[in-house]
Amino acid sequence: MEEKEVTIKNETGLHARPATVFVKKASSFTADIKISKDDKTVNAKSIMGVMSLGAGKGSKVNIRAEGEDEKEAIEALVELIDQGLSEQEGE
């Protein structure tokens, strides 16, 4: 299992479009991926789950992946968040 804590940096937080970008990226891996904030944990491939976390700018989230491509998944998702969840990634 891979795990990493990361701070949300972009203005909007994990909401709206940035959430979509995040979920799309997460869905491209086969590993089981969970994201949690405080004591709430959701499936990182669920748009509604991720949006309902309410992770705004400055919140710390924990990402955990389990499965074949767990390493790549964590690396990619952490990088995505570090870059401010820009929409240039992805599509």
Partner: protein, 572 residues
């Protein structure tokens, strides 16, 4: 009753009241041996929903534009949401619900979760979740995606139309849209314009209580007026209007594929204003020979973050490519004033129209401006793109903007991204102070475009939204005519061309004045293009010049208007 005129035209037809669909399932407790079967039904329905949405997305992309289609991509994500699917499956397995009930319960659970969040954007997702829920429920029930037989003179009346509603309407049978909610930029308004049918929106919720199914309705998409169950007099008035409208449409159709020329054969550019990629098709259909004003605010609105360079580039390129050799003038962000972006968190101002807006904001925040400049430059590689700065008041502003443009070019060169090095750049003339220094400004740019709405507002010190002083907001005031004339003359003295992209460019009375003053390009809403092309053919530049000179000698707006009305009557 009067709402917002969202898409022009007139329709007389029968109301079809689109009730808001309530998510309701035929509830049934299932036996253990039915669990597998229900799970299978649910999976199949979800798969089919994704397939339908993918098709609608593709179709919308072709017919309307990629931004409008994007919503269906979001809908696909909702249908495929693993958490929500899990809740549904557990409902079937553990609580022995049938597929319909499991679906509805899960959708309700997530819809209220979204509605309860603080964020406005997320609250709006509630409607999307329900829309998607209705789609899957319909599939489970085995009903098709087409609306059941509409009469062929249907006027669709609804609180608001969801993207799924408009996508599945039988377009040959719908004469008009009328909605209680919405604005000119809401989904139903944009769809109506791209379908070329009249629409009135924003009538208010009370309106729905007065409508019954099958009522006779008159929709006037030009004035925003709606008549329910009209009397014989109104009806015959509108039948006449409709007939006149049809005749005019037939007559004007001959100007669609020909260039705009004066009576003695001089070519004049008649182009259109657009506010969205979806406006391109209707403009071409109305005979527009280019875009004189591409407002870019739509990319920044109805969202809660700034659009990136890539996303903007895609939109600009799409328009540039669709227009081929025709010019496309892209105006940089004109936000502030009456248009506010909540996510920029700007302090409230006493005088927003005189405040921190448009080029002022952009020069102050190059991190917002630069990505747009780069996106426009990149699009210039794919068509005949020109760039335009709004609200210029001083020479320094133009120089500063041009400096940033040069930086943007350098960055693109370093990144090895192609763009048109010769791309023309221009400024909007809408501040009276800019007219006074127009000759100096013309040294820095390739063209001027006169924005009459703001120019009048600033020159006459009149709030254009204030009905009580509306008499001041008229292009016929001698002061306004002089400002227009001087702008064109100053541009021509320095050999740059001058266009106009305000409402006045499509003003039938003002046409000979503008032509005579030497205006090179007329940019207006799509609906006026054909008529202005026709009227241009009534004049020679020489005859028009006499009108201009005479008009400039008149002393009041009223005198000017009467004089121009007289001239219009005598023009052939």
């Amino acid at each position: 009753m009067r709402g917002i005129a969202a898409s022009p035209g007139i329709a007389i037809g029968k109301s079809i009241l689109k009730e808001e669909k309530v998510l309701q399932a035929d509830e049934r407790e299932i036996n253990s041996n039915e669990v597998e079967g229900e799970l299978e039904r649910l999976r199949e329905a979800l798969e089919k929903a994704v397939k339908e949405l993918r098709e609608i997305q593709e179709e919308t992309k072709q017919k309307v534009g990629p931004e409008e289609a994007e919503i269906f991509s979001a809908h696909q994500m909702l249908v495929q949401d693993p958490e929500m699917t899990q809740v549904m499956e557990e409902g079937i397995k553990n609580e022995k619900k049938n597929a319909e009930k499991a679906l509805v319960d899960a959708v309700e659970q997530y819809a209220s979760l979204m509605a309860g969040l603080e964020d406005e954007y997320m609250q709006a997702r509630e409607a999307d979740i329900r829309d998607v829920g209705n789609r899957v429920l319909r599939i489970l029930k085995g009903e098709s995606d087409q609306q059941e037989n509409l009469p062929d003179d249907s006027i669709i009346i609804a609180r608001d139309l969801t993207p799924s509603d408009t996508a599945r309407l039988d377009k040959d049978r719908v004469l008009a849209f009328v909605t209680a909610d919405g604005s000119r930029t809401s989904h139903s308004a944009i769809m109506a314009r791209s379908l070329g049918i009249p629409a009135v929106v924003g009538l208010g919720r009370e309106f729905l209580e007065e409508v019954e199914d099958g009522m006779q309705v008159i929709v006037d998409g030009n004035s925003g007026e709606i008549y329910l169950d009209p009397d014989e007099e109104k009806l015959s008035e509108y039948r006449d209007k409709l007939e006149a409208y049809r005749k005019e449409k037939e007559r004007l159709a001959q100007f669609k594929d020909v260039k705009a020329v004066t009576r003695d054969g001089e070519e004049v550019e008649v182009v259109g204003n657009i506010g969205n990629t979806g406006d391109v098709e209707p403009l071409l259909e109305q005979g527009g020979e280019g875009i004189g004003l591409f407002r870019t605010e739509f990319l920044y609105m109805d969202r809660d973050d700034l659009p990136g360079e890539e996303e903007q580039f895609e939109a600009y390129r799409e328009v540039a490519e669709a227009m081929g050799d025709y010019p496309v003038i892209i105006r940089t962000l004109d936000i502030g004033g009456d248009k506010d972006l909540p996510y920029l968190e700007q302090p409230e101002e006493m005088n927003p129209f005189l405040g921190y807006r448009a080029i002022r904001l952009c020069l102050d925040q190059p991190e917002i401006f630069k990505p747009q400049l780069k996106a426009i430059l990149r699009a210039s590689h794919y068509g005949n793109v020109k760039l335009m700065y709004p609200m210029i008041a001083t020479l320094e502003e133009v120089r500063e903007a041009n400096k940033l443009l040069e930086e943007a070019k350098k960055e693109l060169e370093q990144e090895d991204i192609p763009f048109d090095r010769e791309m023309e750049k221009g400024i909007m003339i809408e501040v009276p102070g800019a007219v006074m220094i127009a000759e100096d400004l013309s040294d820095e740019v390739d063209f001027f475009s006169i924005g009459t709405n703001d120019l009048i507002q600033y020159a006459m010190a009149v709030d254009r939204g204030n009905e009580r002083i509306a008499y001041l907001h008229s292009p016929y005031h001698p002061a306004v005519l002089k400002l227009i004339e001087e702008t064109i003359a100053a541009g021509h003295r320095n050999d740059i061309w001058v266009g106009m992209c305000g409402e006045a460019a499509g003003d039938e009375l003002l046409l000979p004045f503008l032509l005579g003053a030497g205006l090179d390009e007329f940019s207006m809403s799509a609906g006026s293009v054909l008529r202005i092309k026709e009227l241009l053919g009534f004049w020679t530049r020489e005859e028009a010049r006499e009108v201009t000179e005479a008009a400039l000698k008149l002393k009041t707006a009223r005198e000017v208007q009467e004089f121009l009305e007289e001239k219009k009557k005598t023009a052939r």
